[in-house]
């Protein structure tokens, strides 16, 4: 069980001095996930190309207190699967001691995971490597300037899903990646958020302690892309949970369970949309009906998860 005192005393694996923006949700997600790996465990980190990678590994510096590998954009899962295979192969060769334990984790954004890296992820999950894959979902290609991804919300503004007279932002709904991963029937899958640190760290502990593949989809708000100020990140993430935009749930050995929003905490989707510039256009009179559609969509997905939780 995660407690704030012991976590605050745990050595950080992603250290300060990196170049991510103030208020970046990704660095919060990474630090909290790595706290769940266990204080004394040796961890090898892999990363897809993206904000996290370019901001933490600019030669000749590294912000990582662990061994780290970046390969390319679409193959963080395949790459870490190779590292994990090397660990087993070197053990079989007697070049790594049989009792030596190393954990493997790969991070990718929603671009590197939902979109270009989906095949690589699916392959690595199916092969059953012992690793944790973490998607830090900030809802768009933030590293290259807020282009839409399949994780970008319906009707959100993005630089490749513009708002104009002919189109009110992104025309399509989000992809449900967490369910797609759950359909691989791997031992552990969870959806978490930087707005709920205890829930996130506990899910990370489970992910690292589960033999075989584990997957965490972590909501990581982006002040630049979502158009809010950097001091609001945790609050925005909490609103995502309270408005059912981002349900917190897990699938452990096929059993679904969710952290439901308490009745008194429940808020309409407007409260999540209102604080972000990317949804500003939805509050124009001609677009207000879209907010009702979004409410119906988040309700539907929330109920879909709840049904699976039995």
């Amino acid at each position: 069980m995660a407690n704030i005192k012991s976590l605050s005393e745990t050595r950080e694996r992603l250290v300060g001095g990196h170049r991510l923006c103030g208020g970046c949700g990704a660095s919060v997600a990474v630090r909290q996930v790595l706290l769940g790996a266990g204080a004394d465990t040796e961890v090898v980190v892999g990363s897809a190309t993206g904000c996290l990678e370019v901001s933490t590994t600019a030669l000749p510096y590294s912000s990582w207190n662990t061994s780290f590998i970046h390969n390319a954009f679409e193959n963080a899962a395949a790459t870490i699967s190779g590292v994990e295979a090397a660990y087993r192969g070197l053990k079989a060769a007697g070049k790594i001691a049989a009792d030596k334990e190393i954990k493997f984790v790969a991070f990718g954004g929603d671009g590197g995971t939902y979109d270009i890296g989906l095949q690589s992820l699916s392959g690595a999950l199916e092969r059953g490597h012992d690793f944790v894959y973490v998607c830090y979902d900030n809802n768009a290609y933030m590293n290259t300037g807020i282009q839409r991804s399949s994780a970008t919300p319906h009707y959100s503004w993005a630089t490749t899903a513009e708002v104009g007279a002919a189109q009110p932002g992104k025309p399509q709904r989000r992809k449900d990646l967490t369910s797609i991963v759950a359909a691989h029937h791997i031992p552990y899958v969870a959806q978490a958020s930087v707005g709920n640190w205890k829930d996130l760290v506990e899910k990370s502990e489970k992910a690292f302690n589960t033999p075989g593949p584990a997957f965490l989809n972590v909501l990581a708000p982006c002040p630049r892309g979502w158009r809010y100020t950097g001091d609001q990140t945790i609050e925005v993430a909490r609103l995502a949970f309270r408005t059912k935009f981002w349900p917190l749930y897990e699938v452990q050995d096929g059993v679904w369970s969710m952290r439901e929003v308490r009745e008194k905490d429940l808020l309409p989707i407007e409260e999540f949309l209102r604080v972000q510039g990317r949804f500003k256009h939805l509050f124009a009179p001609e677009n207000e009906h879209l907010i009702a559609l979004l409410q119906a969509e988040v309700d539907e997905y929330y109920d879909y998860v709840r049904e699976r939780c039995g």
């Binding site: 090898v44 590998i69 193959n75 994990e84 295979a85 192969g89 392959g123 092969r127």
Partner: protein, 394 residues
């Protein structure tokens, strides 16, 4: 003393044997015609417990090379195999493997590229990889595919090389044809290949290592790329030493250019891979008629042995280059461009002609090669320009 087993085997079977004997810690691969039997045979070695290797049966060639990069960066000895569209799918990863200085050994069954789709032998796939920073070896026979594959580990893992090596054999012609081959015993091969000690592995048990870092403006990228060229340029002595050391073990010679009767030749055909045999048959026939023909077969294509080649070609009156792929829009096919450049660099203004042949597995007939040697005589007599011919097409 080495124990030799004589057997009838295909090139694919011999490459699989070489990989088994080199005992990689990880082999990540995806099956593709005509490389498939390499992966299948290796998978059987795994199933039978004959190797300690972690076999990673990936879902694509892109992931194959991605996993190889992860495994090699971690500190493992790594091998893989591919062909054609698979090699093309790996393209960005080929640059990353060499840029990260990872000594991965990959067999390539040389095959045509789509479109139109064609599964047969030519060099279109591997020529697309010629500028990716990999060392490239071409085998003429199944035996040489075995020899080259073993030599590859010694070259790649040499502390002063640290580059990936591609050991190639021609699709179907060499991958599938059964030949008399010699297999050396496992202990002798293990002693030749040696142990691998990675320089900066991720799994080093002591300090954190970082691989695949970000080098933006400021010149670091440029410096690293310059170092990469220096490494491949400087690899030639290591390639020769590895080849000669294997020659001493197995008794088969090693030359980066396999020159057949080039010393006094007036007309020389330059060739890569399996077509060399037919070229020698025609050259022998011409010599019986008093025409001094020779064949220069390039066994090491990257780094390009331009000095060695110029030395072999320097006395010729005309040189023809057999190109089993095209470089569309360029003056010649890729090998032709390299050969011409090597001649020019050594001040040898010997007339040349480029011959595109055998694309998509088209037959390389003796008649076609007779045509080429005939044209070289016209070329030397100033009756033909230094252009490009297609052999065996309408």
């Amino acid at each position: 003393m080495a124990e030799v087993t004589v057997l009838a085997a295909t090139g694919n079977a011999m490459v699989a044997e070489a990989f088994r004997q080199a005992a990689p810690d990880v082999l990540a691969a995806y099956p593709i015609t005509p490389q498939t039997a390499i992966v299948e045979n290796f998978a059987k070695y795994v199933a039978d417990g004959r190797v300690h290797t972690e076999f990673v049966a990936v879902e694509s060639e892109h992931s194959a090379m991605s996993a190889c990069i992860g495994a090699s960066a971690a500190g493992a000895r790594v091998a893989t195999a591919t062909s054609s569209q698979g090699l093309a799918l790996m393209y960005e990863e080929l640059h990353i493997a060499s840029g990260m200085r990872l000594p991965i050994v990959m067999a390539n069954a040389n095959r045509a590229l789509s479109a139109p789709i064609n599964i047969h032998g030519d060099h279109s796939d591997v020529m697309g990889a010629r500028d990716t920073g990999w060392i490239l070896l071409f085998a003429e026979t199944a035996q040489e595919a075995y020899d080259n594959s073993l030599i590859s580990f010694r070259i790649a893992e040499h502390p002063s090389v640290q580059l990936p090596v591609m050991t190639t054999l021609d699709g179907f012609i060499t991958t599938h044809a059964m030949e008399r081959c010699e297999l050396l015993d496992d202990e002798t091969v293990a002693a030749y290949v040696g142990a691998y000690t990675p320089a900066y592995p991720l799994l080093n048990g002591e300090t954190a290592a970082a691989q695949g870092m970000f080098a933006s403006l400021g010149g670091t990228y440029f410096e690293i790329k310059k170092a990469e060229r220096a490494a491949i340029d400087a690899s030639m002595p290591c390639i020769k030493a590895a080849g000669e050391a294997w020659a001493a073990v197995c008794g088969r010679g090693f030359e980066v250019i396999d020159a057949w009767k080039c010393e006094d030749a007036d007309y020389i055909l330059v060739v890569l891979g399996s077509a060399a045999g037919n070229a020698r048959v025609v050259a022998r026939e011409l010599r019986a008629q008093g025409i001094k023909a020779g064949v220069a077969r390039i066994r090491v294509y990257r780094p390009f042995p331009f000095e060695e080649l110029a030395q072999v070609l320097k006395g010729a009156r005309a040189v023809g280059i057999l190109d089993r792929s095209d470089s569309f829009g360029a003056q010649y096919g890729p090998v032709g461009l390299d050969v011409r450049s090597a001649l020019y660099g050594e001040g040898l203004l010997i007339p040349t002609r480029d011959y595109i042949y055998g694309l998509g597995g088209a037959d390389v007939t003796l008649d076609a090669l007779r045509q080429a040697y005939g044209e070289l005589q016209s070329l030397a007599a100033g009756e033909l320009d230094q252009g490009l011919s297609y052999l065996g097409t309408r």
